[in-house]
């Protein structure tokens, strides 16, 4: 029972960052109809920027975190501007191929810059874990969880309470009508991609100090983000939030009780099962595409 509680706690902590990844991807897909294969690279980028600020330049940890996220936002905006702006009317396969190209180029640029050796990032947290009765959690992970929840909350506020969010939701529902009502679609797209990228970079910057940073870390992050988004239904933010936690629970319990080697297979099995049983996802707002 103690072991089970520990797994549940671990899953809860992990689920926060998974939800961040999923929300970023689902925003980009829902609003822009772009299947963003470079999403995991933004995650890796966030982690490497954290490494750059903390370990190379010696910046304060709490200052480095927003800086890394800001750089992720800027990279996202740049990518949207350079790669996707000219491809507005293109079909989904075309933009997908562009994002696959961007993913390969980004990942190998990172490998070239930082070499393939895994890097670790020092964190200012005490090494002794926080013990709550029979379970324990490290301070670093607790910090990650709290920041992730705060960022999820902030995203909800942006989407539901601001003018920008209103314009995003309008674009999601009907792009042409939104444009006719005076919404600057190009601006919305850039903002969406930047926001989604920033969330992915935040997940990377948060998890970098918990695990290690290496060039191909984005691959699994991308695929897991896809699993989360499909689970929740493409374009659904509450779906992605809950999907992130469900995936974390499946992985944690699967690793604990089935086999740790198949931990990462859980997400993919989940995708296959969900798509066969309920292809629209658990919380879809729209019919499946295609």
């Amino acid at each position: 029972m103690d072991q089970f509680l520990q797994h549940v706690l671990n899953a809860l902590i992990l689920g926060g960052t998974y939800a961040l990844l999923g929300i970023g991807l689902t925003l980009i897909f829902g609003i822009m109809r772009v299947v963003n294969f470079a999403h995991g690279e933004l995650y890796a980028f966030g982690a490497y920027m954290m490494y750059l600020w903390v370990m190379v330049l010696g910046t304060n940890f709490y200052l480095a975190l927003p800086l890394a996220v800001l750089l992720g936002v800027m990279l996202g905006a740049l990518m949207e501007f350079v790669l996707l702006r000219k491809m507005r009317g293109a079909d989904i396969d075309t933009t997908m191929l562009i994002m696959i190209g961007a993913w390969i180029a980004l990942q190998n640029t990172q490998q070239l810059t930082w070499t393939g050796v895994a890097k670790s990032i020092d964190s200012p947290f005490p090494t002794s874990p926080l013990v709550l009765g029979s379970v324990s959690v490290s301070w670093n992970r607790l910090f990650v969880f709290i920041v992730a929840l705060a960022l999820i909350g902030a995203t909800y506020v942006i989407i539901n309470r601001t003018r920008l969010g209103k314009a995003m939701r309008a674009t999601f529902q009907d792009r042409d009508t939104a444009a006719l009502m005076g919404v600057d679609i190009n601006r919305i797209y850039t903002a969406t991609f930047a926001l989604g990228s920033g969330l992915a970079a935040a997940a990377g910057a948060l998890l970098g100090p918990v695990f290690v940073v290496y060039p191909t870390m984005g691959d699994l992050a991308s695929l897991k983000a896809f699993a989360i988004v499909i689970l929740g239904g493409l374009g659904s933010i509450p779906g992605a939030t809950i999907g992130g936690f469900i995936l974390a629970f499946m992985e944690e319990l699967g690793a604990g009780y089935v086999s740790s080697g198949y931990r990462d297979a859980m997400g993919f099995l989940l995708i296959i099962i969900i798509l066969l049983v309920k292809p629209t996802g658990l919380f879809a707002q729209k019919e499946r595409i295609g």
């Binding site: 299947v35 396969d93 190209g101 390969i104 990462d264 297979a265 993919f268 296959i272 292809p279 595409i289």
Partner: protein, 347 residues
């Protein structure tokens, strides 16, 4: 004219081992040929039915693993007290079995994955490939996991002790790959020019319309997947018995991406496209390597090239060249309306 060109091209390909004495380049050509076969098989799905399968490397790897395990023999506990073992079988049988098993997986995946389309289909196929990769990595008793399957026997054809051809050396393997490649090309050509092929193209162009005039959607999509998967499996068996070592890295996603780049850049939905794209992107790494470009930089170039191709040659190289050729011919012969020729050429 066209027939003569094809014949000359084939004769050139067949003559390569006779005058090329650099074995390393021959090795590169063999690997390129194996990837061209895989790219051709992907083109059947991506180009003719319009379904972007990003799990294609799974069929390649399944072919490689099934063929290797059949020829090496294995012994595995399916349950703690239920052991299944198999003795080594001849290589030709293993290669055949690998192809068939890959085709069976194609059938199963086709039945399951074609419930969804578009982005969902892409993600199901990726997930499938990743699950297979993790099984290959973790089922150590069967696959040796990351320790890899070693000493895979090479192919021998003929009657033992009387007359035997051993496919151990590079020229023999070159001809084997060339023969299988030509066979696959002919199969795909016959398929896409048949009634089934027209049905596939109709599905690609407009699925609701095609199904409304009585095209059985699932049947033709599954047919394409089975043929495509079996061919990718055949390419995998060629790889296994040529390289003679197979590890879970054959399932790496980057190989699928390589195949996709080959098909897209050459021209999806054309017969020659994957061959042209495959040769370009099969030889490009070697050109870059001889220019002393570090491997990461090669991949950066790959990624950037892919974006550039999608931007500037969205139809691929082969249709672009054909359009240019036809429009030039049309300009030379004024009695043929130029508009009609280019229209016919664009598909």
């Amino acid at each position: 004219m066209k027939r003569g060109l094809t014949l000359a091209w084939l004769l050139f390909l067949a003559s390569v081992p006779l005058w090329l004495d650099n074995l390393y380049i021959l090795h590169v050509l063999i690997m390129t040929g194996i990837f061209v076969i895989a790219a051709m098989s992907l083109n059947l799905l991506l180009g003719y039915t319009g379904q972007l399968s990003l799990g294609h490397v799974a069929f390649f790897g399944i072919g490689a693993y099934v063929s290797s395990l059949t020829t090496l023999g294995f012994s595995v506990h399916l349950l703690p007290d239920w052991q299944v073992s198999a003795d080594p079988k001849p290589v030709w049988f293993g290669m055949l079995l690998g192809t068939v098993v890959a085709g069976l997986f194609g059938w199963a995946i086709g039945r399951l994955a074609f419930k969804v389309r578009g982005a969902y289909f892409v993600i199901v196929t990726i997930s499938f490939a990743e699950v297979i990769r993790l099984v290959a990595l973790n089922w150590v008793e069967l696959t040796q996991g990351p320790m890899a399957l070693n000493n895979i026997p090479y192919l021998r054809l003929g009657i033992p002790e009387v007359f035997e051809v051993a496919f151990l050396r590079k020229p023999a393997n070159y001809y084997l790959v060339l023969a299988v490649g030509i066979l696959c090309y002919i199969i795909i050509r016959r398929l896409v020019k048949s009634r089934a092929g027209r049905a596939m193209i109709a599905l690609r162009e407009n699925e609701p319309l095609a199904s409304s005039v009585g095209v059985d959607v699932t049947r033709y999509l599954v047919l394409a997947t089975v043929v495509s998967a079996a061919m990718a499996g055949a390419a995998g068996t060629l790889y296994a018995h040529y390289v003679r070592i197979v590890d879970p890295d054959v399932f790496l996603f980057i190989y699928t991406v390589t195949m996709v780049i080959m098909v897209i850049s050459g021209g999806k939905g054309t017969l020659a496209g994957p061959v042209v794209g495959g040769i370009i992107f099969g030889l490009l790494p070697e050109v870059l390597r001889s220019a002393r470009v570090p491997p990461e930089m090669q991949w950066v170039v790959y990624g950037v090239l892919m974006i550039l191709v999608v931007y500037f040659l969205p139809q691929g190289i082969v249709p672009a060249v054909r359009d240019w050729w036809l429009s030039r011919r049309a300009a030379d012969a004024p009695d043929v309306p130029a508009e009609a020729t280019t229209k016919a050429a664009s598909r």
